[in-house]
């Protein structure tokens, strides 16, 4: 029997993971979400911003990473709109600004914002996507309006009221980067922070986050939210419960299933190893 457990068909594992992911969607169990110091740093940075401060949201991800990063985007945007922070959206990934639009659409449908929906060029602007990866960040360090001469809708950036008085990162009070790979947080740290001394926090996919941790310790990155857990923590701190919190239960169950199979694999390994020794 242990021999069989040593080589379980991967499809059986997949089935268990699928069940663990789907079943919790129909359950209503509240979970305590512990806040990590890295996510608290993001919250502290946001809380220090005065009304009217300019927040740059860099959407460097595409739909595949949306389940992890979209809840972070929505929570941070809601916080900004609620506290009258001016949001500037941009993306180094072509699909990034489209994800930002989806986030704004969802906020407009939200009960809390129904009476006071975010208005374009009053509360936010979308500068759209720009090719050039990290060189775009470098260009923005010198002149944002020259790097993005027009916004997503084709309006000259200089005509936007949110962009009034903004030349480079020294006029941006806080940058929040949502990243799923390259170009992403590492490039923002190397160019916006190291070269132009911008204040930066980031939300990363769980796969990507370990690579970014060294920059949190060195102080180059003030705060990091990693994966769905980071999204749930952000939602809790910012006071907007959304999909991050909702899907944590699925993630909990999935982790338990993975751990269960690791234990099964090890039990089988030791049981069969004992036999071989005999």
């Amino acid at each position: 029997m242990f021999e069989k457990l040593l080589r379980i068909d991967r499809r059986i594992i997949f089935l268990f993971v699928l069940i663990a992911l789907i079943v919790p969607l129909f359950l209503n169990i509240s979970q305590h979400i512990a806040i990590s110091p890295e996510v608290r740093d993001i919250y502290d940075s946001l809380r220090k911003l005065q009304p009217g401060s300019r927040v740059l949201l860099a959407f460097d991800y595409d739909p595949p990473s949306a389940p992890e990063l979209q809840p972070m985007a929505v929570a941070v945007m809601k916080y900004c709109f609620k506290h009258n922070l001016k949001v500037i959206i941009m993306g180094l990934w072509p699909q990034g600004p489209l994800q930002a639009n989806l986030a704004i659409e969802s906020i407009k449908r939200d009960k809390e914002f129904k009476d006071n929906p975010p208005i374009y060029d009053k509360d936010y602007v979308n500068l759209g996507y720009m090719t050039g990866n990290e060189l775009v960040i470098q260009g923005m360090g010198t002149d944002i309006q020259r790097t993005f001469p027009r916004d997503y809708l084709g309006n000259p950036t200089s005509s936007l009221s949110v962009m009034k008085g903004i030349t480079n990162f020294s006029n941006i009070d806080f940058i929040f980067n949502l990243s799923a790979g390259y170009p992403g947080t590492v490039e923002w740290v190397l160019f916006a922070v190291d070269r132009f001394h911008a204040k930066l926090s980031a939300g990363n996919t769980a796969v990507q986050a370990p690579q970014v941790y060294p920059y949190v310790h060195s102080g180059q990155l003030s705060g990091l939210a990693g994966g769905l857990k980071g999204a749930a923590e952000l939602e809790k701190l910012l006071g907007f419960y959304g999909k991050g919190t909702k899907f944590m239960l699925s993630q909990s169950f999935a982790h338990i299933v993975v751990i269960f199979f690791i234990i099964v694999g090890n039990v089988a390994y030791f049981a069969t190893r004992g036999k071989k020794k005999k």
Partner: protein, 217 residues
């Protein structure tokens, strides 16, 4: 000359990039922008090469009825479907605007398909972990324990299991500790090695010592 010209271009451009990092004065300050613009133009045009190659390879497979040729047909039809929707059926709006057929395809076909591929990672992580995390040696056992604590600590259930302990020593804190210290230390060591590797490789390329990427030993 087929080898020399690329080597000269690599050398000149590489040195220009290095010089402009240290000398902000004109004309070096504009060189980076100029070279970057050239690079972007080359990248933009290169996309066509890729698209044409994809179409050629797919059409070849259909015409020769090679094995699995229907997949090639799906590729061509998918390509034409989205290009035609974007170019001809946007109703006078920009093709990216909400409500256009392109936007519909993006939201309801492309997004779920891409998300599905990424989501498969969850299943593959499970099967790879089951296979890889075996306590065969002392090092492997350490790795296994770290994975065990991080996986539990990163979800609320970890804290629920250790709720009898003071908050500062619960599983989530232990997972944070593993991520923040041993994990970060390892990452840094690998990053330093990689950075040196990049410097050394770049220097070899700029000086023309490394030529194998040009098709020679």
């Amino acid at each position: 000359m087929r080898r020399e010209i690329p080597l000269i271009i690599t050398g000149v451009v590489g040195f220009t990039y290095i010089i402009q990092f240290f000398i902000p004065h004109w004309p070096f300050n504009i060189m980076e922008h100029m070279l970057t613009d050239w690079m972007l133009i080359i990248f933009a045009f290169a996309i066509w090469l890729g698209v044409l190659n994809l179409m050629k390879v797919s059409l070849d497979r259909i015409s020769k009825r090679t094995k699995d040729w229907p997949y090639a047909l799906v590729t061509i039809l998918g390509f034409l479907f989205i290009v035609i929707a974007g170019f001809f059926f946007s109703g006078g709006r920009r093709f990216l605007d909400p409500g256009t057929p392109f936007d519909y395809i993006y939201q309801f076909i492309y997004t779920p398909l891409s998300a599905t591929m990424f989501a498969m990672l969850a299943f593959y992580v499970a099967s790879a972990s089951y296979r890889a995390f075996r306590a065969r040696t002392k090092e492997a056992t350490l790795l296994l324990l770290a994975a065990f604590f991080v996986m539990l600590g990163r979800v609320p259930v970890g804290d629920a299991m250790t709720s009898f302990l003071p908050e500062s020593v619960r599983l989530s804190k232990f997972a944070d500790w593993i991520m923040n210290y041993p994990q970060t230390a390892g990452q840094r060591a690998i990053m330093i090695g990689i950075a040196l590797g990049i410097v050394s490789t770049s220097l070899r390329l700029i000086l023309g010592i490394e030529r194998s990427h040009l098709g020679s030993d």
